[in-house]
């Protein structure tokens, strides 16, 4: 076990897999010599060589498009989109191509491909460095969409993604890169060092894609969340003294329906939290499913706490971010119904 930040855990996962499997190729904007603007690929070019880890032109569609070709050849490309906000030019290649190669060719070709991208706000990045586009992937049949909330999961899930035979969108909550940020931006930044989930085993291990983690067991209500919101929800439960069962989905598609349903059937109440804008966010899908399969157990409406339906504003980002107060209040109101 070593203590690692999420950035280090991601880098380590790439290093482990590049060492084990010569088919793993890492590229993207600024990821080669420099090692990525968030430093997730630092040292990989130097260690594994220039054709295993290299800089790409600023063309997200070209990055994903070439990666699809590589995957069809039999390699296992892992590409970085510098910010999730810049995946849009690649949206066609991701959603109309990568997701369908296996299906449309009836298994003749496949597309094992990992697309990493930092997601979420809280770094004063304004509307183009803060977005959480997960729902734009979960609506697309054929993709897997996952996002870790701890260094341990980041490494284990990234290795699982790199071993997965299908395309995986790997979202990295950038506010968690260096510590378990709980939304209290007014407080000192906390580091992963010393945090139990910052303990990361050396070498190869996997965290399966499709299994949620119960981060806190509770009886009063179920909180469905992922990424940064996991830590925000944990803080909110503590502050509000609510006995919440906090489920870190980790994987949005495939979704761990069983864990979700068992929990809501137990608690009878549910709050959903995400940073993406509310309307048509992934919380909508969660609420729609839960009310359907757990209808007779529900004692209160399912509440969603999410980013407001406007672009992520620069100066007002902490008013936009669904912090512990907003989530805590929704939890309290839901148990009090």
């Amino acid at each position: 076990m070593t203590e690692m930040s999420m950035v280090e855990a991601i880098r380590d996962a790439l290093d482990v897999m590049m060492t084990r499997d010569s088919r793993v190729i890492v590229y993207g904007e600024d990821v080669g010599y420099f090692g990525g603007v968030f430093r997730c690929t630092q040292g990989l070019q130097q260690k594994h060589g220039r054709t295993r880890c290299f800089d790409a032109p600023i063309s997200e569609s070209g990055i994903v498009g070439t990666a699809i070709g590589m995957a069809a050849y039999g390699l296992r490309p892992c590409v970085e989109i510098q910010f999730a906000d810049y995946m849009y030019p690649a949206y066609d290649q991701i959603t109309q191509e990568a997701s369908r190669i296996r299906y449309r060719s009836n298994g003749d070709f496949t597309c094992p491909l990992v697309i990493r991208m930092p997601t979420g706000g809280g770094i004063f990045g304004g509307e183009t460095h803060s977005q959480s586009p997960e729902a734009l992937f979960t609506h697309v049949s054929g993709l897997k969409t996952v996002l870790p909330s701890t260094p341990y999961d980041a490494k284990g899930m990234l290795i699982a993604a790199l071993e997965d035979p299908d395309p995986v969108i790997f979202l990295e909550p950038k506010r968690l890169y260096h510590g378990p940020f709980d939304g209290h931006h007014e407080r000192e930044v906390v580091s992963w060092k010393g945090h139990p989930l910052g303990e990361v085993p050396q070498g190869h291990y996997t965290v399966p894609l499709g299994k949620a983690a119960v981060r806190r067991e509770g009886e009063a209500l179920t909180v469905l969340c992922y990424g940064t919101m996991v830590h925000v929800a944990l803080a909110a439960a503590e502050e509000q003294q609510v006995d919440a069962e906090i489920i870190d989905l980790r994987s949005l598609l495939p979704l761990d329906l069983e864990t979700i349903e068992a929990s809501v059937r137990k608690t009878g109440r549910c709050v959903i939290a995400h940073e993406a804008t509310l309307t048509s966010g992934f919380g909508a899908e969660l609420a729609a499913r839960v009310q359907d399969t757990c209808f007779w157990h529900l004692e209160a409406p399912i509440r969603r706490v999410a980013g407001w339906d406007v672009p992520y504003p620069h100066a007002q980002e902490w008013f936009y971010f669904p912090g512990p107060k907003r989530i805590g209040r929704a939890m309290r109101e839901t148990v009090e119904v």
Binding site: G65, G69, Y73
Partner: protein, 412 residues
Amino acid sequence: MQDATRPRLTIPEPAFRPGDTPDYSDVKIPKAGDVTLPPLDVEPRLLRNHAFSIIRILRRDGEAVGPWAKLLTDEDLVAGLKQMMTLRKLDARMIAAQRQGKTSFYVPQLGEEAVTIAFQRALSDGDMNFPTYRNAGLLVAQDYPLETMMNQIFSNEKDPLAGRQMPVLYSAKDYGFFTVSGNLGTQFVQAVGWAMAAAIDGSDAVAAGWIGDGSTAESDFHSAMVFASTYKPPVILNIVNNQWAISTFQGIAKGDSGTFAARALGFGMAALRVDGNDFLAVHAVAKWAVRRAREGLGPTVIEHVTYRAGGHSTSDNPEAYRPKAESDAWPLGDPIERLKLHLIGRGLWSEERHAQAEAEIHDTVVAAQKAAEKNGTLHSGPSPRRRGIFDGLYAEIPLHLDRQRKAAEKWL
């Protein structure tokens, strides 16, 4: 209203519209044999003329001339002619089948047969094409089973793609034929990625990307050019300029000057422009580019100048936007007629053999169609399993989809 010297929007227009009599007599077609054969390691910037002229081998009288000639054996040429005839027959039958309701849709390659059939002969096992919907010749050139193609066209029980894809969007990995997308352009940059992988892997396989003139306007065309010019992987990027994109003539994609091949020059890439209706020329150019790629000398962009003599697809009626006789007026002629003339001139072929081949091919295609129809057609006979639509989206079916599959059972 507008000042004479003020900017106006230029809207390029084709030379002829329905009602006009097409006349290409003022179009200058370079003489066969005129364009030089550069060394494989030529500096791309020296290929200016190659990107603006047209590489041609077959003269009007059928004779093969110039430095690019003499790369194919007699057998290759005869086989190529027969394959072009087969493709044309296949197209004619399938268009008729569509009218009879046996399939939903079909895309012919009438007039463009030489492009893919001559090109494919320059590739080897292990190479990979990234085709469009109009490149079935790449399969026919390898004697891919016609019945299998038809099984897909008819979306029947034996459809290799289990009914999921539209007709003509084939997939045949063993034949170096990547699964065709319905979205234009996407395959062009994927071809570059495949070639990058081959280079990383140290293999000597090459990739061939395919795109239509109209589709060069798409973003993926640019991505392909950028990645190919930067990483120089073993890829050949084919632009099939058949003059039309559905109802839109090539001037809308290209503007009114230059050539499509010239776009590659701006990227410092080797570019050749070839007479796409000249079987020998297409093959010679392909061979040159494939050798170059295989020897690690970098990518080549080829513009195949041809003409879409038929409709865009069975959903199209070209008489609504271009003169009826335009394809006859097209100065580069018909690829089958031209190769036939050449072979006859060389004593390798005759009108009799041609008629006999016609008849044989007719029988072969009809037999394949009969066999395929036994497996069903779109609206009658056996069809792909409906429950099969939940299979093979992922290697393993996820829970939410499994629940849908079970819910769907009641509708079977």
